[in-house]
């Protein structure tokens, strides 16, 4: 990479080691994202079996959506506490304050990322689940890395090599193989509200894809551990100061009693705490991977959550996945290896705004 000097073989070797280590860390963070995201589905799903959520009938869509909003807000507050703990251990709490106060120039991007990831993506995903089905919701979310990679490419010229693009496609295809066959049992042509589910599916893919690219912009000049803390701070404010008060004031939905019932029921809170622990560190790993391997690669490896979710659900429910899961697993793992086999020096410079590294 040094452009002006003769590089000794020892120096070249050390440089290669340095970039390979960064690449390995980037992929490792992305893999942790997938593992913890997959684990999150266990407490996230179990929460619906507890009071007050278990008492809401499946056909009470507006109440279910209101309950989802309450659940997401309480969850975001718990995630915030876990992130505070994380940044206290890392000694970055002061940096969190220093970043938050620069709202007009820096932390506003985290506020926008929280809107994309929270109310747009999570809400959209629940719409897809409620109006079409969970399989459709899972499949539509699989496409978020494509959106993220395209936005990152167009907006700040993130490099997507041919190998990274092929790996990304294989991972998405693997995810479709895992969930696809169940989709046929879920589609119902007679359902007049299905379009709401399709809109929700598009919202989740756009929301999560955009979140990575928007957050990536703020992380150019700020720390990823601090960035994710800022992002959840804003999500708490959006739900707690805007969306929930709006629903409580202008609708007759029982927002207040849903909040009280959630926080006073220990089993519901236990699942929320477990889900928040997974989500807090899943998101931390997600943001940390963006800085080292880029938004497109980080999101594509994060897509392995499809595999881990099924493994964790099988472990806890003792329901073995179908045979085609193995095929999907092989494809997603193969896709990950294709991405990981990129030269480390190529991943060391993620954007096209400077000349390429020497020798790459």
């Amino acid at each position: 990479m040094a452009s002006n000097a003769v590089i000794s073989p020892n120096l070249t070797q050390m440089l290669h080691k340095h970039y390979a280590r960064n690449q390995r860390w980037g992929f490792m963070w992305a893999l942790w994202t997938a593992i913890l995201w997959g684990a999150w589905y266990v407490p996230g799903t179990a929460l619906w079996s507890e009071h007050p959520y278990v008492d809401i009938a499946a056909d009470q869509q507006s109440l279910r959506l209101a309950a989802t909003a309450v659940m997401t807000w309480v969850h975001a507050i718990t995630v915030f506490i876990f992130l505070l703990l994380w940044n206290m251990v890392l000694g970055k709490v002061k940096d969190y304050g220093r970043t938050m106060v620069r709202f007009s120039k820096i932390s506003k991007w985290y506020a926008l990322a929280s809107l994309c990831g929270g109310p747009l993506a999570i809400f959209g995903s629940y719409m897809a689940m409620g109006f079409v089905g969970p399989v459709f919701a899972a499949i539509s979310s699989l496409f978020y890395p494509v959106i993220g990679a395209i936005i990152a490419r167009l907006w700040y010229k993130e490099k997507i090599s041919k190998r990274a693009a092929i790996g990304m496609c294989i991972i998405i295809f693997g995810g479709m193989v895992i969930y696809g066959p169940s989709l046929f049992g879920e589609m119902d042509a007679t359902n007049p509200n299905a379009w709401l589910g399709y809109v929700g599916g598009i919202m989740s893919a756009i929301g999560w894809g955009t979140e990575g690219a928007v957050a990536g912009r703020a992380m150019d000049v700020s720390d990823p551990d601090v960035g994710i803390h800022c992002r959840f701070s804003f999500e708490i404010l959006f739900w707690g100061l805007l969306i929930l008060p709006f629903l409580a004031t202008f609708t007759d939905l029982p927002i207040k009693s849903l909040i009280i019932d959630t926080v006073t029921h220990s089993k519901a809170m236990l699942w929320i705490v477990l889900a928040a622990a997974c989500h807090a560190y899943c998101y931390t790993a997600f943001y940390k991977s963006f800085s080292l391997i880029g938004v497109g690669r980080g999101e594509a490896i994060g897509n392995l959550y499809a595999v881990f979710a099924l493994i964790f659900i099988a472990a806890f429910t003792l329901q073995l996945p179908q045979w085609y899961f193995i095929l999907g697993l092989i494809l997603t793992v193969a896709g990950s290896f294709v991405m990981f086999s990129e030269p480390a020096e190529s991943v060391a410079q993620l954007r096209d705004n400077e000349p390429a590294l020497e020798g790459v």
Partner: protein
């Protein structure tokens, strides 16, 4: 209020034509009164992130020996893209 540390690294780099990583780290240690191995590793990762994102570029490398072990050192320079991004984010006046 002090700048966040990644912002401080960029601002310090903008004041000189180029700077070695250890010189930058010394400035951070002095400004934030923190100096330990963990902090040093965290800051080196921050420099790697800035370099990967294209805000700074490495113009020279060298090997140093510390306690009998080879250590890789980087001489960084702010890139044109880095200057643009600093102006965008209020770290540098246009």
């Amino acid at each position: 209020m002090k700048l966040h540390q990644k912002g401080f690294l960029l601002v310090e780099l903008s004041k000189a034509p180029s700077m070695w990583d250890y010189q930058l780290l010394e400035k951070v240690f002095a400004e934030y009164e923190q100096h330990n191995d963990f902090r040093e590793k965290t800051l080196r990762i921050a420099l790697d992130e800035l370099s990967a994102a294209g805000l700074i570029k490495c113009i020279e490398n060298k090997l140093d020996t510390v306690n009998g072990k080879s250590k890789l050192l980087f001489n960084y320079q702010l890139s044109d893209f880095g200057i643009t991004r600093m102006v965008d984010t209020g770290l540098l006046l246009a």
